[in-house]
Symmetry: C2
Subunit: 310 residues, 2 copies
């Protein structure tokens, strides 16, 4: 079974005079995610954030912004269009739309190029490719509008490819429970004090949302052998936990991405042993963040064997 784990992601931030997203009913968010061909599985919340676990990834809602992450064959762009239409263009302060290069892009209903064409119907934006076309890369689109992020608004994405056979076997075992996965991921170390909502998919897959005050972390795992993939996306500093996660998954390669609100600060300071830094791309985006994309791979001593398709 082929499943595209790589996510599409949108952060939509409202103008100060048009906030109040927390008072929206869940039925509105259900409508929103339906537009993307996803559905809501469950919800956790506190006084500042609601976190919806979806059939394909996650939706987070704060008073002034949403973060929608969807994987598989979802049409996230339709959810953005719906949101903008429902709230009105005047409410929108900034849209940041991001998409990883896919490995089964022929199965996707749209490409990034299609998506930004649709955003350009309503907005005027900038679109960049972070990384060479023949390498791991990330596409990013944002509106051509000044935006000054909060000084604590620091985002980390840690995307893991080709996870080791041992981790795959563990994650593909029958009857796997979410408690087992939490232990496997050593989440007590990474997420002390967080409220957690997670789900083990059948036949395979695991998703987790975690919140603590206005902080969040979300994990999505696709263990299938044809394209094993795990993603972490969070606004807590995940760098210190990367060695632990590398140890658990022993990935063939990974991407590490940062959105840094202070352009003077440096990005990407982590480098586990045995991994080679292949690519670094950095750019100060006119929407106020420094974006940093990097790709690492595990040095191999031996030649690989082919992957048998037939």
């Amino acid at each position: 079974m082929i499943f595209e784990g790589s996510e599409k992601k949108a952060e939509i931030i409202l103008n100060k005079e048009h906030q109040g997203l927390l008072s929206k009913k869940d039925s509105f968010w259900e409508q929103l995610v339906t537009k993307a061909n996803a559905s809501i599985l469950s919800k956790i919340e506190n006084s500042v954030v609601k976190a919806f676990l979806l059939s394909e990834s996650s939706l987070f809602v704060w008073e002034d912004r949403i973060l929608l992450i969807t994987c598989g064959q979802t049409t996230l762009i339709d959810a953005i269009k719906f949101f903008v239409k429902e709230l009105g263009q005047d409410c929108i302060n900034q849209i940041i739309f991001q998409r990883k290069n896919e490995y089964f892009s022929h199965l996707q209903p749209t490409t990034f190029y299609d998506d930004i064409e649709r955003l350009q119907e309503d907005f005027d934006g900038v679109a960049l490719r972070m990384g060479n076309i023949d390498d791991h890369h990330n596409f990013i689109y944002h509106l051509k509008r000044d935006y000054t992020p909060n000084t604590t608004d620091h985002t980390f994405e840690f995307l893991i490819y080709e996870i080791c056979g041992e981790a795959r076997s563990f994650l593909m075992q029958e009857g796997l429970t979410s408690i087992q996965v939490r232990e496997f991921l050593k989440l007590d170390r990474i997420l002390p004090g967080f409220t957690i909502d997670d789900f083990v998919f059948k036949p395979y897959g695991y998703s987790l949302n975690a919140i603590n005050g206005d902080n969040y972390l979300t994990i999505h795992i696709t263990p299938q052998q044809v394209s094993p993939y795990v993603s972490f996306e969070t606004d807590i500093d995940i760098r210190e936990h990367i060695p632990t996660l590398i140890d658990i998954f022993q990935p063939g390669s990974y991407d590490f991405i940062e959105f840094q609100p202070d352009r003077e600060n440096s990005c990407g300071k982590q480098r586990p042993q045995q991994y080679e830094l292949k690519t670094e791309v950095e750019s100060f985006l006119s929407c106020g963040y420094k974006m940093y994309f990097s790709h690492y791979y595990k040095k191999r001593k031996d030649k690989l064997k082919p992957f048998q398709l037939l």
Copy 2:
């Protein structure tokens, strides 16, 4: 303008009792390439091989086999199906079908997975992916039949990505002539004694076929900035010329592939300075060749800048 330079390639070998391909009329080959959505631009020949330069790459015809290479949005698989139908399945000794991972696969009419499904309607084959899904890789399909290649039947593919700005500018200049490209590529060193047929495409692109006895070499260049690409495919040992070609194109990365008829011989012995060997995949194929796939990239000191799309 987006153009997928990466090629699809098929080698079809006839049984000993069913040879005689050189006596086929050109109109037959025109029909064949039309099935793939390509057309014949020109031809060179000697007593043992005909080489057709196509609107999308090349066709070589020997008495007992053909080699068809097509790029862009061609449907090479339709040409294989046509060939098999016209000659009859009984004539076919071996089919080796190869496809590089593409970077604009959403624009392709079919995927490798679709293609091999169509081959399996008539044949029983093996399909492999040489390389991880998130890395440069090559797909290969061949029939489950014993085949013993000629001891001199050694094939090299040298595929160059992200060629340098200087080379791109040279190759995209207005009024570029094929003589200029031959000089730029230093072909007098690589191809002494070869008969050459080449073509400069408008607005951009260059293709070359060269033959000498039953040896061949073909070059295809897509210099466009969105995905610059150059391919060399030949049965002459191109390894000694790789440093020269690296010097000319200064690529960001390249793949080097070998089909080696002697399983005891080693493959891939080349390693230009400044380039890091990232991937090596090797397998002895049951169709009689050792296949070797490798991917190299240029070590960079500086961070990359993003590529602006909008």
